[in-house]
């Protein structure tokens, strides 16, 4: 346990030294506030840009608060996922490529701890950044539109973050299995996109797909209740995460550290 904490502390320190603790949360906040602010100021923006003929009436229906939050969340589906994958893809692959992983693993370090501590470190960064980012979406939406109850905000946050965790774990898995950080990032993104696309086109059959958690998070905001399939989808997500971690350790251990 103390070895695991040492490994985790190192991850935390590294993320502080390379400023991940600053730029990732800030990026998530900026992603989060973009939607409520642009929706609110859209009429003024159009007005300022001009180009509309005299007398033309700008008729954009004001979106509801729930709609604003949902489009806020959609920012994380695209750019948020991209940032998570890009910041996580090198977490194991880069250390192995540079040879520093071999320096560490000739010491009596458990492979299990090595992989899971890295995963835990990026999890903490991801959950915190996403929480702060989405919290600012909620705050600005409340300020500019209407206040959504905090419990609904929090429920949608939780299930959405669970899906992001799946993507993060997929990235850790490929980072442990492949030598090149770029390749592991590329494959992880491809996997995330394919799961999302397949789940949304076959949504009737794949109600329990972890990718559907994004849809359920939206439904929580719209309908103010948790859809029935949320629980099985969450459980399946948890199972995926555990299995991916298990195989990450398994493959990483099998691979020879010195190429």
């Amino acid at each position: 346990m103390s070895q695991w904490m040492t490994l985790l502390q190192k991850e935390m320190l590294e993320m502080w030294r390379n400023f991940k603790w600053i730029w990732v949360p800030i990026t998530f906040i900026l992603l989060g506030v973009k939607e409520p602010i642009t929706s609110y100021y859209m009429p003024q923006i159009l007005d300022a840009v001009g180009g509309l003929p005299e007398g033309a009436v700008i008729n954009i229906p004001t979106p509801t608060a729930a709609e604003v939050l949902i489009s806020g969340l959609s920012q994380y589906t695209t750019l948020g996922v991209l940032i998570i994958v890009l910041t996580t893809m090198g977490i194991i692959a880069a250390e192995r490529k540079s040879g520093v992983a071999a320096m560490i693993l000739v010491k009596p370090v458990s492979f299990h701890s090595f992989v899971t501590a890295k995963w835990a470190g990026s999890m903490i960064l991801m959950w915190l950044s996403f929480f702060i980012g989405y919290l600012s979406t909620w705050y600005y939406t409340g300020l500019l539109f209407e206040w959504i109850p905090f419990s609904e905000f929090f429920q949608s946050f939780f299930f959405y973050a669970l899906w992001l965790t799946v993507i993060l774990t997929v990235t850790v898995f490929f980072s442990a299995s492949l030598m090149a950080p770029g390749m592991s990032g590329f494959i992880s993104l491809a996997v995330a996109i394919i799961i999302s696309l397949v789940s949304s086109t076959l949504s009737n059959w794949l109600e329990w797909s972890p990718a559907q958690l994004t849809t359920y998070a939206n439904e929580i905001l719209m309908d103010k209740e948790i859809p029935d399939s949320t629980l099985p989808a969450s459980l399946l997500a948890a199972v995926c995460i555990i299995l991916l971690l298990y195989f990450s350790v398994f493959i990483f251990r099998k691979k020879e550290l010195a190429a």
């Binding site: 040492t6 040879g99 560490i104 000739v106 009596p108």
Partner: protein, 302 residues
């Protein structure tokens, strides 16, 4: 007391056998050099001993390892090109690996400071390792191998990448470490092995072709050898010597002809007479004992 026993160790990469079955035993408290030309399989052997690579077959067993004990507790390893977390300082890196090896934070820090002092980079302890020179990295690498007081430290070509001064300093450091632990280090430079070690394993084409202490090797390979230095290239003179009945073998290099002979006294007389008669431009005549280099050349079959 034996420390580690290796038997039938083999390693293949994509069907090509790189290590072709090696056996040896390391005694406690010795300094052993794993000597061999580039590509002989030195690095692969050390990587298997350190657990970074799995042998295709064969066993590595530590005498002192308790059942189920992680052998990484007992060894320290320095790869040929040590790398560190560039964003850590030397002290931070040492304390980090110390803690990973099971020391408490306090112990790890104390031991790190002690080792930084020992390897002579105390002044740079708070500098980021990204700013370390090659020699400093090598020293930090030695320090990290020693952090948990392992029974055996393995160093892969610890001095090959260093300039003459750095090499001198690291060799002196190794000399000092001999008192504390068993050292196995690989090198392709004979004089380094000769200087620091008391025992040598010759590795050639994935096999141990010769091994033993320096004195054993000398005795075993003792042969009468004459070194003749001529003015200018010496090749022209070789046919005479190689056809001589007293000659066992001849090696030529530049202006030197080295001749292994059956009988030193007879050969000296015969050769000198012949040279005087033919009026060859001899500059130096030397009766020499075998150097490690000669043993090396002999065992690798050149």
């Amino acid at each position: 007391m034996s420390l580690i026993q290796i038997s039938g160790l083999k390693k293949s990469f994509q069907g090509t056998e790189v290590i072709k079955g090696i056996d040896f035993t390391l005694e406690k408290g010795r300094c052993i050099a794993l000597l061999g030309p580039n590509g002989a399989g030195k690095t692969t052997t050390l990587r298997m001993l350190s657990g970074l690579m799995n042998p295709t077959s064969g066993t590595i067993s530590f005498t002192d390892a308790k059942k189920g004990e992680d052998i990484r507790d007992l060894i320290g390893y320095l790869p040929q090109f040590p790398v560190f977390y560039e964003w850590m300082s030397g002290l931070e890196f040492l304390s980090y690996v110390g803690k990973l090896a099971g020391l408490t934070s306090k112990e790890a820090k104390e031991r790190s400071l002690e080792l930084l002092e020992l390897v002579g980079i105390s002044d740079a302890k708070n500098r980021k390792t990204a700013k370390y020179s090659g020699g400093m990295k090598q020293r930090l690498g030695i320090a990290q191998a020693l952090i948990h007081r392992p029974q055996l430290i393995m160093l892969d070509e610890p001095v090959s990448a260093l300039d003459p001064i750095g090499r001198r300093e690291v060799l002196d450091l190794l000399e000092g470490l001999r008192k504390e632990t068993t050292i196995l280090f690989s090198t392709h430079i004979l004089s380094d092995a000769e200087e620091v070690c008391d025992e040598i394993l010759f590795l050639h084409n994935g096999k141990i072709v010769e091994s033993g202490t320096m004195t054993e090797l000398r005795e075993r390979h003792q042969q009468a050898k004459l070194d003749l230095y001529f003015k200018g290239k010496s090749e022209g003179y070789t046919p005479y010597f190689s056809n001589h009945e007293l000659t066992l073998s001849v090696m030529t290099e530049g202006n030197r002809v080295s001749i292994f002979v059956r009988d030193i006294a007879l050969a000296r007389k015969a050769f000198l007479q012949e040279i005087a008669e033919r009026n060859w431009p001899l500059e130096k005549f030397e009766v020499s004992s075998m150097t490690l280099e000669d043993v090396f050349m002999k065992v690798v079959g050149k």
